[in-house]
Structures are given as C-alpha cells and as structure tokens.
C-alpha cells in the first residue's frame, strides 16, 4: 500500500508541476496561442471538438490498424520462411537490419502513384511495410534463440523440423513477437499519420493538424495532437492487454513441451 503510493506520487507530482508551470507561463507571459496555447485552452478545444477529434482519430487509427495487421502477417510469414530456408534468411536479414535507419515513409509518394491516391490503400501499404521489419526481426530472433539443450532434446526424440517448430520454436518466439508488436504499434500510428502529409484524403489526424496550424487555429491543432497521443496510447495498451491474455497460455505450452 505504502510502497505503491511511493511509486504513484512522483509522476503525478511532476505532471502537475509541468502542466501548472505551462499554464502559469502562458498566463503570466501573456503568450498568444500561436506561440503556445495554455493547457486549459487545449482541453476546452478538445472537449468542444470531440466529434471532430474522434472522427480524425478513427480515420488515422483505421489506417494504422490495417497497416499493422497486414504488416504483422507479412512479417510473421517472412520470419517462418527465413527460419526454414537459410537462403531467404541471408537475403532478408541484412536488408532488414539496414532498413532500420532508412526513412521508409519515403516510399509514400511512389505508392501514391501506383495506387489510387484518393484511397486509403497507399497509406495502409506504407504502414504495413514499416511494421513488417520490427515484427520480422523480433520473431526471427525468437525462432532462432531457443535453448540449445531443448533443441538437443528434440533431436534425441527424432522430432521433424516441423514438429520442433511447432512444439519448441513458435512458443519460444511468442514473447519476442510481442516485443516486436510493442515497437510496431506506435510506429504504425506514426506512419499512418505522417503518410497523410504526402497528399490524399484530408480526414485524418495528420492532415487536420497541418491544416489547423496553417489556419492559425493553434488551440485546435494542439487538441488534435492530444488526440494523436491518445490514439497511440490506445494502440500500445491494446497490445499490452493482448499480451497479458496470450502469454499465460504460451507459458503452459512451454511446460508441456
């Protein structure tokens, strides 16, 4: 009880101090909203425009979700393929490592040309490509980094590679998969949001922030940023929740193996 409290009060105190100082700075210095709107203004813009915020967040969130879904499926598939075929592994792994620092979002204009720019498709695709790599890298790690003693055990039992994969490697990879997802989910939201800056439909958070800022409606722009932050948090927390649901079962699988 006491120890829980000692973990809770510092972040709350710091958040309160930060917001208080921000509000005070804006009020005392009489800062104009275009420079820095007060937290109170952002909060009121947020609650006044709730339906707008929700709509934009829903649009960008859907793009991010679809991208995350397709990217995850592709990443899993590639990891299984690379684990099975050493050539695929050698071809893909260095590419995946090199692409970590590449701004993949740069593919958006190309995809906008190939697909209908007025649709969501190019944005979902670029999100999926961005998501694919952290999923691939982490799942691959999980499939390969198994306890060598357990591999020897499977070998002593004359288990086929497919059986080893099912009984040993896949359960071993589940925690790694969630590590990958926890990296990928925020990336998906960022990608979906930034892809909107390359033109196309104007319904999403990225477009709204940019246009609100361009129209000097800074309070509203910050409120959209708040909506984007909440969207990101929802994605992350959803992954954590799924992980909590799934992990005990995978642990049971482990014991059986």
């Amino acid at each position: 009880m006491n120890s829980k409290l000692s973990y809770l009060w510092p972040p709350i105190l710091i958040a309160a101090l930060f917001l208080g100082a921000w509000q005070l700075l804006v009020v005392v210095q009489d800062l104009k909203p275009f420079l820095l709107p007060a937290p109170s203004l952002i909060a009121s813009e947020f609650s006044n425009g709730a339906t707008l915020m929700w709509g934009a967040a829903f649009y960008t969130g859907t793009t991010a979700f679809l991208g995350l879904l397709f990217g995850t499926i592709a990443g899993l598939f590639m990891a299984l393929l690379a684990q099975r075929f050493i050539t695929v592994n050698k071809l893909v792994t260095p590419l995946a490592a090199g692409l970590a620092t590449v701004p993949i979002i740069a593919l958006t204009p190309i995809l906008n040309n190939m697909f209908n720019i007025t649709s969501r498709t190019p944005r979902v695709l670029v999100t999926a490509i961005i998501v694919l790599f952290p999923i691939f890298v982490n799942v691959m790690r999980g499939l390969i980094q198994v306890n060598p003693l357990q591999v020897e055990l499977m070998r002593s039992l004359n288990a086929a590679p497919r059986t080893t994969l099912r009984i040993l490697r896949i359960p071993n990879a589940i925690p790694f998969f969630f590590t990958g997802l926890k990296i990928a989910a925020p990336l998906a939201v960022i990608a979906a949001l930034v892809a909107e800056y390359f033109g196309g439909p104007q319904e999403g958070l990225g477009s709204r922030i940019a246009s609100a800022a361009a129209n000097t409606a800074y309070g509203r722009a910050w409120a959209y940023v708040l909506a984007a932050i909440i969207t990101g948090l929802i994605f992350y927390l959803a992954i954590i929740a799924i992980e909590r649901l799934v992990t005990p079962r995978s642990a049971q699988l482990h014991v059986k193996a």
Binding site: P10, P11, A100, I110, M114, Q145, L193, A210, V225
Partner: protein, 289 residues
Amino acid sequence: MASTRDRISNGFVSFLWALAGIAIIGLMWELTKLIGTIIDLPFNTSNQAMPHIWTMFSAFSLPEVRGSDTTVFQAVLAASTYSLTLALGGFVIGVSVGLLLAIIMQRFLFFERGLLPFVIASQTVPLIALAPLIVGIGNQISFGPIQWSTTYSVMFIAAYLAFFPLSVGALRGLQAPSSTSLELMRSYAATNNKVLWKLRFPASIPYLVPALKVSAAAAVVGTVVAEISTGVRGGIGRLMVEYARETTSQPAKVYVAVFGAILLGLVVAAAITAVDVLLTRNLPKKGLA
C-alpha cells in the same frame, strides 16, 4: 583483434547478400510490370506509376530543372547531405540530453519514478504530430539578434525523437553493474562521480549501443518527416515531395530522391555500426550464433 576483423568480413558478406536481395526486389518489380501488361492488376503498372529500373537509373543524370547544369542525382546528393547534417545535429543534441536525463534518473530515485513513466509513454505516442506546431513556435522565438530558423525546428524534432529511446537505454545501462561491482567500488571509498565514470558508464556500453541505433534511426526518420511536415527546403524530405509532384512529366525523378533517402539511412547505419565496433571492441563477444 581478429574478432573485429571477423566482424568486418562478416559484414561484407551480409552486404553482398543484401545486394542480392535488392536485385531480387528489382526483378520482382519488372516481373510485376510484365504481368501487369498481360492481366489487369489492382494497381497501376504503367511506366508512369512504375517506371522501369533502367528508367530510374537514367533519371540520375537528368538535369535537375530544364537547362540546368546540375543533375538530379547531384541535387539529391546535396539534399541528402543537408538532411544528414540536420539529423546529425539533432542526434548529438538528443543523445546529450538523453544521457544527462539518464544520469539524473539514476542518481535520484524521485526523478526515476517521476520521469521514467513519461519517457516510456512518450515512446508509444506519435510525438511527430507536434512537428508542424514546433515550427509555428520556432518562428516566434529569437534570442537577442539570433532569429530561430526553421532548420533549428527540424533539428529540434530530430533531437527529441532521438532523446527518448536513448535515455531509457542509458538508464538501463547505468543501472546494469552488479551489486558485487558496486560493493567493490564502495570498498574503495569511490565517490559517486568516480563510480559513474569508472563503472556505470563503461558497464552501460552494451545497453547504450542498441539505444544509439534506435536513436540514430529516430533522428533520420524524424529529420525527413520534419522536413516533409514543416516544408523546410534544402533537405531530402522536401525534395521528395517536390519530385513526387512532377510524376506526370518526370515519373522516374522521385525514385532518385527515394534512393537518396535510403542512402542517407544506410550511411547512418554504417556510421553506427562503426561506433558499435569501436565501443565494444574490448568487450566479450556475445551471441555469435
């Protein structure tokens, strides 16, 4: 040391495989175009949307604008170099601030408990959404005679994206020394600063290097995205947007810009790998398998 040489030669082999991987992607690209001429694919495979690989390469030597002496490739290279400078500036600032924060969090439990939740949460939210607003703020700031320029805004965005992953990794590293090592330092009556320099910093290297990689990636992506969302001229982000608008007349041009962005990322990846080899050369090699 031989192991360092091994790592370099392994790296070269990986590089060759990566080239093979890229070649296969190129083949698939052309194959897709070929199939597109036979059956109806759900996307545009025309030369305008998907130029031939050789058209892309020929675009490298096109004049940047009609009648200009500089080629597209030279323009892209200049823009990538400019973006690299901004990313590097942001990276250095972000890493310095991140390290400082990690040291403060390690030293004072209050700050660890008070700040760490926000640092972690900030990695899960799209802070990049702030980019257009940062520019708005930046334009209003001046320090005496020095006027804030939009390039500072780009650097600032790159810096704050680089800062978060680094501070988490560095904190984990600073907390890595075993209780035995810490007792040893205590038995020498070492001051907190000595413990930091002689034990915590060196012990944090294995945690710091991956954090540096993430931060470098964040700085590059942050720079390009910031350039796109703030419209700052001179960098590869803005150039991509400009070339993307010219696809009707010069469809292959944008690919040169994308190539530039990839090159930028690879240069940074290579630099970070060099830093990795340098920093970990005296450490046991783990996980060679």
